[in-house]
Amino acid sequence: MMPLRRWLRRLLTYPAVQGAGPFVLLVALWAVVVQLEIYPRTFFPGPQDVLRSFVNLVYKGVLPTYLQDSVTRLAVGAGAGICVGIPLGLLIGLHPASYRFFWPLIIFFQAIGDIAWLPILLIWFGFTLTTMTFVIVYTVIFPMIFNTALGVRTVPVEMIRAAQSLGASRWRVLVEVLLPGALPNVITGLRNGLGYGWRALIAAEIIVGTSGIGFMMFDARRSGSVVEMILGMILLGILWYVVDAWILRPAERATIERWGLVRQTP
């Protein structure tokens, strides 16, 4: 029989264990705390309760619908934010006059924040998808603009000159040098933007929503069902992990890592 220590060390070398290990510990700790009834069960439910609720809601068809709604809103909002944010970022990154004009406006509007727009949006559009999409687009746009602008500005000038002295026209320099060069930063911007967009979505759903995970969590608050609140939070965490591991990191691997590039910290 192998000594316990060596067996543990061997176990720890598996990446699955390294990734999931801390969570397993956390859940175990959680279950213990609940079992000891340190907090009343209604305020602080255990993993079993949450799991039971999860199964229940999936069975009722509620959870898949909410999930789909939330994800759709995020996708639409993020898509629009990217389509506006990247070109605008390119413009202010490359055109000094545009930079001078737009920069103060961008800074000011970013400072207002997405949520502060809700009251006026509710007056204009009411409790609709338009309102929520606006909020998400608003949040995603700013990191996209900043990071795209940073990306094009930090392309080494020698690379641009190299392309010029090899006969590249201005358009070619943009497409062949500036855009790929900016890509690591654009992906960072996307990562940040999606993160904020997610959070804005939840906030909007809490305040405005009729469906979605955020709504589910706040509704649970009103009916005092802590289980669903925690379930919602866990789902959010898992969803983000999925976006990170299956969308963002593969994108980074295919570009940044393959090209051996380093990201500029803004």
Binding site: R161, Q164, L166, G167, L183
Partner: protein
């Protein structure tokens, strides 16, 4: 009129911190015939890189004119290829695509430009590495790609800005020998900027020494050493050594 003609070239900057105009380069006149290998030497800060950048068309001169084959220089272009100290390879392109870049800009179809690119990759001794990315190569190899990329574009003038300064000493000697070999077979016109006296005398037909800032032409020294040249021979050659000593004296002389 063939070749490079520089007439009364000056470049002045406005230094915002000092609040005054500073001359980097003053009244330089220089002529390079086609097929010549000219090295520009000078102490640090003497403006030799500024001179090269003006010939390349990256920065405009304050006064004077630059003519290549009878035409004024207006901005960068494929007739003046540049090899950079930092290599400036495109990290998102393979070696093959990097070398083929200039050809792609000119609209050469893929098959032909890849064929030409492969020739030049072989010329610099990197065949087999066509599909690697720059970050997978050593410094010396990256610079070879830089040279191949420029040569593949067949420029009228080859500008080299301290191209071997970022590479270790032994690789540098190898690259210098390879460069002379390429020049001795193909005779491109080369303007080579460096601070390394021994390198300049090894490579060039003619060494132009600049004064400390503001850079002016101090003297132009012919290098009649026989070719082909190699480090193993020249290192003990008395003619080489006395030339180096003479040029070194010129570089270090006070303004």
């Amino acid at each position: 009129m063939e070749g490079l003609v520089i007439r009364d070239l000056s470049k002045t900057y406005y230094d915002i911190y000092m609040g005054q105009h500073v001359a980097a380069v003053e009244a330089i006149s220089l002529e390079i015939a086609p097929g010549e290998f000219v090295a520009i030497l000078g102490p640090s800060g003497c403006g030799k890189t500024t001179l090269l950048n003006m010939v390349a068309g990256f920065i405009p001169p304050t006064r004077g004119e630059i003519l290549l084959n009878g035409r004024r220089i207006q901005g960068p272009g494929p007739d003046r290829g540049v090899v950079f100290q930092s290599f400036a390879l495109f990290p998102w392109k393979t070696v093959l695509d990097n070398v083929a870049f200039g050809l792609k800009m000119r609209g050469v179809p893929r098959e032909e430009r890849d064929r030409i690119a492969r020739e030049y990759i072989a010329l610099v001794g990197l065949d087999g590495f066509e599909h690697r990315y720059p970050h997978e190569l050593s410094g010396g190899m990256q610079q070879r790609v830089g040279v191949a990329r420029v040569l593949a574009n067949n420029p009228d003038l080859l500008l080299m800005d301290e191209p071997f300064a970022s590479v270790d000493a032994q690789t540098r000697m190898t690259l210098q020998e390879e460069l002379t070999r390429i020049w001795e077979t193909r005779h491109p016109t080369i303007l080579f900027v460096t601070h390394d006296v021994e390198e300049a005398v090894f490579l060039a037909n003619r060494v132009v020494v600049l004064t400390p800032r503001p850079g002016r032409v101090r003297e132009s020294v012919a290098v009649p050493l026989p070719r082909p040249r190699s480090w193993q021979h020249l290192i003990e050659d008395p003619d080489y050594k006395s030339l180096v000593a003479r040029v070194l004296g010129l570089v270090r002389a006070p303004a």
